[in-house]
Amino acid sequence: MGGFPILSVTTFLPLSGVLLIFLFHKRSADNVDVARHIALWTSLATFVASLVMLRGFDSGSSSFQMVELVPWMPSLGIAYHVGVDGISVLFIVLSAFLTPLCIISSWASVKSRVNEYMVSFLILETFMIGTFCALDLLQFYIFFEGVLLPMYLIIGVWGGSNRVYAAYKFFIYTLFGSVFMLIAFLAIHFLAGTTDIVELFEKKQEFSFSVQAILWLAFFSSFAVKVPMWPVHTWLPDAHVEAPTAGSVILAGVLLKMGGYGFLRLSIPLLPDATSYFAPLVFSLSIVALVYASYIALVQEDMKKLIAYSSVAHMGYVTIGIFTLNVQGVEGAIFQMLSHGIVSSALFLCVGTVYDRLHTREISRYGGLATNMPRYALIFMVMMLASVGLPGTSGFVGEFLILVGAFQANVLVAALTATGLVLGCMYMLWLYRRVIFGKLYKTDCQTMSDLGLREVFVFAPLVLLVFWMGIYPVSFSKVSSASVLHLINNYELALSSPSESSDQAGLPIRTDDRQVVAQALWRPVDRERAEGLGGAH
């Protein structure tokens, strides 16, 4: 408190760009470059602001930092309250990092209504960053839902041929889930008397188990759609296919992460008993998603649809990791979300690159691009390998940590999740083979030119990050580790404290207690039984 309000600045800086575009609206009507430049430089400034914020962040502490608290509706106990901890801080940087890339990548491909397009993206950025900063339920809800509007426009106005259908589907699916979340927020307000997240944490508000279960399901209905989990994933392929490239990038890069973030920020700390109770449900749905989406991806004819389904599979890993509720699982899930934010964005950009040249996403129209687009082939290869989870790339770290976490929670879950290692590589290799390899005999493919300078500029930081995160992941994971530990300790504390509802059917196993782990290794044994075995040993 009292310092420079860096979080608010980062959140609302993009809006200044919106203002500028409105001011120069008349003059830029015939010269759209003005709007492009304004959007680019504001988003870059926002990125710099987010880096300043990251620099000021103390990764040793697990509490909320850079907190700003301004009364808003004092009579209702609702305030403007922002702050970051290790879980949210990197998502803010990710959002601020991807937006300028989106703007550069749509520099030439978006030609109609450029002013409105740029305005949509800047507003979207504010809402995304706001979601990750928010420390008040109502405020969280506003930003979380606000994201829908610009995204709806981006898909519906600048999308493909079937864009209106996809936009409606996207909107209705996500709104449907969120209605329940809003009701849950209201319920929390009535029960606890506050919507302040920090206050709710500190009060150690104990909801009875049945209340927790209902609230948890309400949260789940919203976050599961966002992630998206099976079987509410069917909006994603349509939305991705119809969205313009940059829209897909933000959708896959940031929007999907809001679901995972919601679980971490709200479901687990506020509703620990229900979390433990429903974890097997999440595991089952995630494993189904993983296997199901991988198989579907294998038979896709449309590049974007394939990558969209691969997103469903990869987010399946994330939800498994989150609900293992141990250090490796949760850290892995956060890392996987960041990595997927980079990799899937890059993959959508890869699709966009060839789409700009040939105006089709149909895989069979391509082939043999390695011959005339070697630079593109290399970058696509790196991203494909990162998506497959090759060690040394960012995809591996998160995936493997999640598997290790899952293994400690339940061996069967880990074994089934690990099938993703095999399934995941099949569809990506098959896609790459059809697009890049083979003989270059299609005449329209022969005329395609390799990456230009602007495109290289877009991809270069992504490639760099993929390797950086893969070879020295500590520089990212150490930011979140204190907060993750705090989250898990609190969760276990809440579970072990005797409350009327303590339901111990879940599978948390303390990672530090080797004896118990080894004994409980092959079965989701509840804790008393595991300790009994350990004692007998």
Partner: protein
Amino acid sequence: MWFIAVFPPLLGAVIAGLAGRMIGDRGSQLVTCSGVIASAIASVWLFFNIGIHHSESHVIELFTWFSSGTFKASWALRFDTLTAVMLVVVNFVSACVHVYSVGYMSHDHHKPRFMAYLSLFTFCMLMLVTANNLMQMFFGWEGVGLCSYLLINFWYEKPSANAAAIKAFVVNRAGDFGFALGIMTLYVLTGVLDFDAIFAAVPSVAGQTSAFLGYSVNVLTVACLLLFMGAMGKSAQLGLHTWLPDAMEGPTPVSALIHAATMVTAGVFMLARLSPVFEYAPTALAVVAIVGALTAFVAATIGLTQFDIKRVIAYSTMSQLGYMFFAIGVSAYSAAMFHLMTHAFFKALLFLGAGSVIHAMSGEQDMRKMGGIARRIPVTYGLMWIGSLALAGVPFFAGYYSKDMILEASFAAGTGIGQFTYWIGICAAVMTAFYSWRLIFMTFHGKPRADHHVMDHVHEAPLVMLAPLLALAIGSICAGFIGYEYFVGHGRVEFWGRSLFVLSNQDSVSVAHHALPVWVGQLPTVVGGIGILLALVAYVLIPTLPSLIVERIRPVYAFVLAKWRFDELYDFLFVKTALRIGLAFWKTGDAKVIEGLGPNAASALVRVSAWKVSMAQTGYIFHYAFVMVIGLVILIAWFMIK
């Protein structure tokens, strides 16, 4: 020195890969070759220091990789005898292959890319063998898999190469599924990832059992079996071997380096590295022995029937890897490593020799279209003889020492499994000798079966290709009797130091040195000679004999020729099924069930109910009046009943 032994290939790969067009073909070749040669020299120096002079083995920590709770792993380089042996093998063979490729690929348009891949592969292999923890080993493991994929697919315009590359990657991934789970099991069991810490923890957790799906299982055994699954994938053991023969789509130097000498032996290396773990899991060792023996046998039978010169050698590789695995299965780790080393020399020699033949025959690989070229390419012919003599285990060549040691050790193990592997090994030895000379006779002897265009063009390879062959030939001759004393002889304890571990009651190599009937050691040599004679009879003296025999056993022959029908089985079980499942999930699951019951049903519901409601608004006064009257009646009735 350790730095020079490991990192120059990476540097070469990056320079040739990214700046290949700038520095040109010659520049790329220079950069990569000199890098690998520097590494080879450095690793020989390290080998002498660590292996022969017994200087302290050591670990060099670079920086942290994983750090999540207790799950910690660093990038580190570990140097002990086991690593030093692998360093020499990898760097030496790689240097030979690099130089050979300069000649072999002289007509190709993508030389910088090829050299970059080769160097990148070498680096990944070096990361694998210098790993100090399971994670880095997994990095190298998948890294070499990637390079293998890239190199099989080097001629990316060929659909067959594309398919083979994907197959190699996916099958290896199936093995890595086991490897990854094995790493996790060991981590959860011991709480650490570094080798030394794992080795220290294993004896105390050896007997632990846990329940899984209602069964009580020994955790350590399960961990070892999962790790072995990874080894099976990488080393093409029976069941996960189908990718190796197809991998011959890659250029021949690749087959020599990756699919004969180094990468495919990574599984053997991994098990040897983890010998302190496997020693405490006798059940897992038994499985290793059986799988290894079956692989040795099945691969040898297929090798008898193939006509593609590279595929014959590929099946021979698979068979020899089987030998190494059953050696490990009877705790003869040192013998397995010894065979790994000698095999690297003579198998690389055979492959590069075959490459030289293919080069001479204008790209022809089918032995039925060769013959009668011994005089035209005498040096290659002589070198192929040396390689085959070493492979068949003819006395005083390298393979003689190592293969005999393996067979003696398995006999000496004194168990039923040891006996089984010994006799299977003897059978495979006959076949090995037979198909080796079948290859020589079909390729070099008899009447020329190629057309005259090809025959006119037959020429000896240039010096840049022959020099590496000569280096490997020297290795194939000398590696056996020089290495014997150190690797498996009386100096073996000092030589290996603490890098290999055998429980004293399972030390089959030591038994083999003392109490063994004489015939056990001589039988392999005798059957090798018989195999050569049989080949001589069947392919030189009575050339009609093979087809006569084939006629007699037509169904068996067809079955073996079709590689025991593994490919068809897998294609049916996995490939076709996967596509069918994918389509079903997509068209039925997503489109019909989820969409149909979810959003589409909801929108249909809204539409129908809206239509129903709109039906009520007919606009006729009497309709409304009628409804009002009915409503009133119901209302009044309601109040009266109350």
